[in-house]
Symmetry: C2
C-alpha cells in the first residue's frame, strides 16, 4: 500500500483523493519541491520550504501549515515508507474551487498540501540533445520557481528520447542555454566550469548553488553554439547529480563526477 501525507494527515492511497475542482489539476495553479531523504532525514529541508514559499508568494497561494507541521508530516511519511534512500515530493496547489474560471477562486478555497514518497533512483550518465521543439521562457517569473507546469520540459524530454538521447538541454527564447528537463546544467571548457544565469531561465536550484560553490563554477550567459567547445558537463537537482556522457552525439569527458562533489548529498 502506498501512503501519502495530504492536508495534514497521513493517509493510504484509497483515502488520498483530490477533488476534480482542484486548481492544481485544472490550471496548474501550484508549486512543488522534490527532496532527497535518507534514514529519516530530509536533505536541505529548510531551503526547500523557503523556495516553496517563494513560489507560493509569486502565485499568491497561502501555505496553510507551519514549517514545523510540514516537517512533522513529511517525517511521518518518511517513517511509514521506511525506505533507505528516497525521493519526497511536496506539492502545494491553490486547492479546490467551485467557481470556474481563472480568477478569483471561490471564497472557500483552501490550499491542497500533498506529499508522496518513492525509492530514490540513481540514473546512469546522461546523453543530452539540445531541444529544437520548444524553448524555456526566461521572461516568466515562473521559470525561477518550482512551478508545476512542466509541459515544455516534457516536450523536450520526449524529443530527446526520440533522437536517441536521454535528456534535453532547453534553450531560452534568446537562444542561450537555460537548463535540462528536470535539472540545472554545468558545463566545462578551457576557462573552467560555468552554469546559466537565473535571468537566462535557470531554476534557482538548491544543488546548483552548492555545486557552484564546490567546483567552483561561474554564472554565465552561455550561447547554444558555445556548447560545441565544452569537454564535460553535469546535470544537477535536489535528488542527485549526473555526469553528461554525450552532447548531441559528441562524447564528453563523462566518466566520474569531479571529486569535490563527492560529499554534496551526504
Amino acid at each position: 500500500m502506498d501512503w501519502y501525507w495530504l492536508n495534514g494527515r497521513l493517509v493510504s492511497d484509497k483515502e488520498a483523493q483530490i477533488a476534480p475542482t482542484d486548481r492544481g489539476l485544472l490550471l496548474a495553479d501550484g508549486v512543488f519541491e522534490t527532496m532527497r531523504a535518507r534514514a529519516g532525514t530530509l536533505l536541505w529541508l529548510e531551503d526547500h520550504l523557503n523556495r516553496l514559499r517563494e513560489g507560493a508568494t509569486l502565485l499568491g497561494i497561502p501555505i496553510p501549515l507551519s514549517d514545523d507541521a510540514i516537517h512533522d508530516g513529511l517525517k511521518a511519511l518518511l517513517d511509514k515508507a521506511g525506505l533507505p534512500e528516497s525521493a519526497m515530493r511536496l506539492t502545494l496547489t491553490r486547492g479546490p474551487s467551485l467557481r470556474r474560471g481563472l480568477w478569483p477562486p471561490d471564497e472557500a478555497v483552501r490550499p491542497t498540501v500533498l506529499a508522496s514518497i518513492a525509492p530514490l533512483v540513481t540514473p546512469p550518465p546522461v546523453r543530452l540533445a539540445v531541444c529544437r521543439q520548444t524553448r524555456r521562457n526566461e521572461f516568466s517569473p515562473l521559470s525561477r520557481v518550482k512551478y508545476i507546469g512542466y509541459g515544455d520540459s516534457l516536450i523536450a524530454k520526449r524529443e530527446a528520447l526520440d533522437r536517441g538521447a536521454t535528456d534535453a538541454v532547453l534553450l531560452n527564447t534568446n537562444g542561450n542555454v537555460a537548463c535540462c528537463s528536470v535539472g540545472n546544467i554545468f558545463v566545462r571548457n578551457h576557462a573552467g566550469w560555468a552554469t546559466p544565469r537565473l535571468q537566462d531561465g535557470a531554476l534557482r536550484g538548491l544543488a546548483r548553488a552548492r555545486v557552484m560553490a564546490a567546483l567552483p563554477a561561474r554564472e554565465l550567459t552561455i550561447a547554444a553554439h558555445e556548447l560545441g567547445s565544452i569537454d564535460a558537463g553535469i546535470v544537477t537537482n535536489s535528488l542527485g547529480l549526473t555526469v553528461v556522457s554525450h552532447l548531441d552525439d559528441r562524447p564528453l569527458d563523462g566518466g566520474e563526477a569531479p571529486a569535490q562533489l563527492a560529499s554534496l548529498y551526504d
Copy 2:
C-alpha cells in the same frame, strides 16, 4: 449536488475523485477545452474535439474515448445539470502514474477524462492593462493549444486586478501583443480590425477564427506601442465576447460589439 463526467461515467461530486498520482495535477501534463452550451446543444463541439486532439498529440496523450462517446457523455452531463446556458469544461490528462519523475510514466497509465459544467456568466466590458510581470512564450508549441498550465495568465490577471483593471494583455517575449489571460484580442485602428498572429503566441481560438471572418479582421504582428493608437477592442473565447472599455486607463469606443458579431454564438 454537483455532477461530473469522469472516465466515461456520470458521477456525483462525492465519487468524482482524482488520484494524487495524476500527472495532470503533478506536472500539468494535460490539455482541456471550454465550450458553450445552450438547451442541450454544445456549440462548436467538433472543432473543440479536433483542437483537444491536437493538444493531446503534441503531448503524446492518447484519447481513450471516441468522439461519439465523448459527445454522449457531455450530453448526459448537460441534461443532468439542466442549465439554460452553461460553460462545459473537458479536461484530458495523461492520468495517474505510480512511477515518479517526468518521463516515462508507468506502463499502466490511463488518461483521465473529466468534464464539469457551470452556469454561463456574461462578464461586463473589460478594462485591460498591459501585463508587466510576465510574457507569453510564443516559442513554445504549448502556446498554440489549450494547455492546462495557466500560470502566466494567472500572474497577468492578478497584476491587472492589482492595477485597477479587470484583465491583462499579455505580450510575447518579443514585446508584441499575444492575447489576454483567457481569450484572444482584437483591436481596431484607422486601418481596421486586427488580431495577433498564431506565431506571436495567440491561441488558435475557435471564436477567433469566426470573429476574423465576421468583422473581418487581419492577422498581424501588433507591437505593444501600437496599442496606443487603437480606438476599440474585443476579447473573445469560446464562451463569449467582451468589449474593451479601457486600455491602460485610456477609454476606448467600448459600447456595443460590432453588429456583425451579434449571432456568433447562436
